[in-house]
C-alpha cells in the first residue's frame, strides 16, 4: 500500500509516541534542563492542573535566553515559555502529523486524547521512524558511517 494511504488510515497512536517531559509554570528552568538531559528530549511541555498542555519550552529557546542572561536558569519556566503548544489527537490520522509539522514549523507535537489531556510527544523523530519503517527495504540497507568509504575500502 502507498505511504499516503497508510498515513490516512493509521492513527497517531500507531506511531512510536515518546514520553513527554512535563512541568508546571512554577518550575525552575534549571530543574527542567536536568529533566530534559535525563530524558534526552529537547523540550518541556508545560501543563495545567488537568494535565492539558498550556505551553512549551525548548532547547532553542534556552540557547537564546542564555546569551541574554546566563542566570535565567534560576527563573520560572512559566516566565519564558511560549503559550502555543502544537498538538494532534491520538485518534487523528498520521497524515495530520505531517501537516501540522509543516504548517506550524514545529519539531515537537503534543499528542492529546479526546479530552485534550497530554498523553505523549511526537514530531519529526516519530515521523522519520514511521517512514523508515514503511520503506525498510530501502532505508535499512544503507551503508552509513563516519569513516569515509574510500579510506576504509581495501583493494580496487
Amino acid at each position: 500500500m502507498k505511504l499516503l494511504d497508510d498515513m490516512l488510515e493509521e492513527k497517531v497512536s500507531d506511531l512510536a509516541i515518546r514520553e513527554p517531559v512535563v512541568a508546571d509554570t512554577e518550575e525552575i528552568i534549571r530543574h527542567s534542563i536536568e529533566k530534559m538531559r535525563a530524558s534526552r528530549v529537547g523540550c518541556v511541555i508545560v501543563v495545567d492542573e488537568k494535565n492539558k498542555p498550556s505551553g512549551m519550552f525548548t532547547e532553542g529557546m534556552l540557547r537564546e535566553l542564555l546569551l541574554e542572561n546566563p542566570t535565567v536558569i534560576d527563573e520560572r519556566v512559566g516566565d519564558h515559555m511560549v503559550d502555543r503548544c502544537p498538538s494532534v489527537k491520538e485518534s487523528d490520522p498520521i497524515f495530520h502529523v505531517l501537516e501540522a509539522m509543516q504548517s506550524k514549523r514545529s519539531r515537537f507535537l503534543c499528542v492529546v486524547n479526546d479530552d485534550g489531556v497530554l498523553v505523549g510527544l511526537t514530531g519529526q523523530k516519530g515521523l522519520m521512524e514511521y517512514v523508515a519503517d514503511h520503506f525498510s527495504g530501502q532505508v535499512m540497507v544503507q551503508r552509513i558511517g563516519c569513516t569515509p568509504a574510500m579510506h576504509s575500502r581495501e583493494g580496487a
Binding site: T58, L67, I73, Q102, L127, F135, Q142, C146
Partner: protein, 165 residues
C-alpha cells in the same frame, strides 16, 4: 605458448550482461525518490560552518543570528564536528559561565555521521531514523562540506513527493 589472437572475442560473441535487466518498478513515488534521487535532492543548503577554535559563545550567537539549530565545525576545510542546540542543552546550559569562552571543539559532537552527496536520499533518512541524529552533514567525494540535511528539509522532501501521488 598461448595464441593470444584466439583470446580476442569477436564482436559477434559479445553479450551485454544487462540486456535482460529490467529496472525495478515502484508502487510509491516516494519509494522511487528515496532510491533513485541523490541526497542533494533534499535541500542541503544553505549551511553554516564555524572554525573549531571559535568560542562556544560565538557559536551560540551564530546559531541565533541565522535561526539555525546546528553548525558544522570545520578545520582546514574538513568536517570535524557539529555543534547544535542539543550540545548547548547537554554540555553548556548549566555550566555557561565556565564554558562560554572555551573553543567549540571541546564541546561539539565529534566525528558526526555524514553522507556523501552521491548517496541516495534514503541514506539521510537512515541516519535520522535509525541512528537518531537530527542533522546530517553532506560531503563531496573530496570530503569537503557541501551542505547539511535537517529534519525540516526532509519533511519538505517527503511532502513534495507524497503530494505528487
Amino acid at each position: 605458448m598461448i595464441d593470444e589472437t584466439s583470446l580476442d572475442p569477436s564482436p559477434d560473441d559479445f553479450q551485454d550482461p544487462l540486456e535482460n535487466y529490467e529496472p525495478k518498478e515502484y508502487d510509491d513515488p516516494l519509494e522511487r525518490a528515496l532510491v533513485e534521487e541523490k541526497v542533494t535532492e533534499i535541500k542541503a543548503t544553505p549551511f553554516t560552518s564555524i572554525a573549531s577554535d571559535a568560542t562556544v559563545e560565538e557559536a551560540m550567537r551564530k546559531l541565533g543570528e541565522l535561526h539555525h539549530s546546528c553548525l558544522l565545525v570545520e578545520e582546514n576545510g574538513g568536517l570535524v564536528g557539529v555543534f547544535s542546540d542539543r550540545d548547548v542543552l547537554k554540555k553548556v546550559a548549566l555550566e555557561y559561565n565556565e564554558v562560554k569562552d572555551r573553543p567549540v571543539s571541546e564541546l561539539m559532537t565529534v566525528d558526526p555521521v555524514f553522507v556523501y552527496e552521491t548517496d541516495s536520499s534514503a541514506a539521510a533518512l537512515t541516519v535520522m531514523a535509525v541512528l537518531g541524529f537530527r542533522h546530517v552533514p553532506v560531503l563531496d567525494l573530496d570530503d569537503k562540506i557541501v551542505g547539511i540535511i535537517s529534519p525540516q528539509r526532509v519533511t519538505e522532501f517527503l511532502v513534495s513527493h507524497i503530494k505528487t501521488e
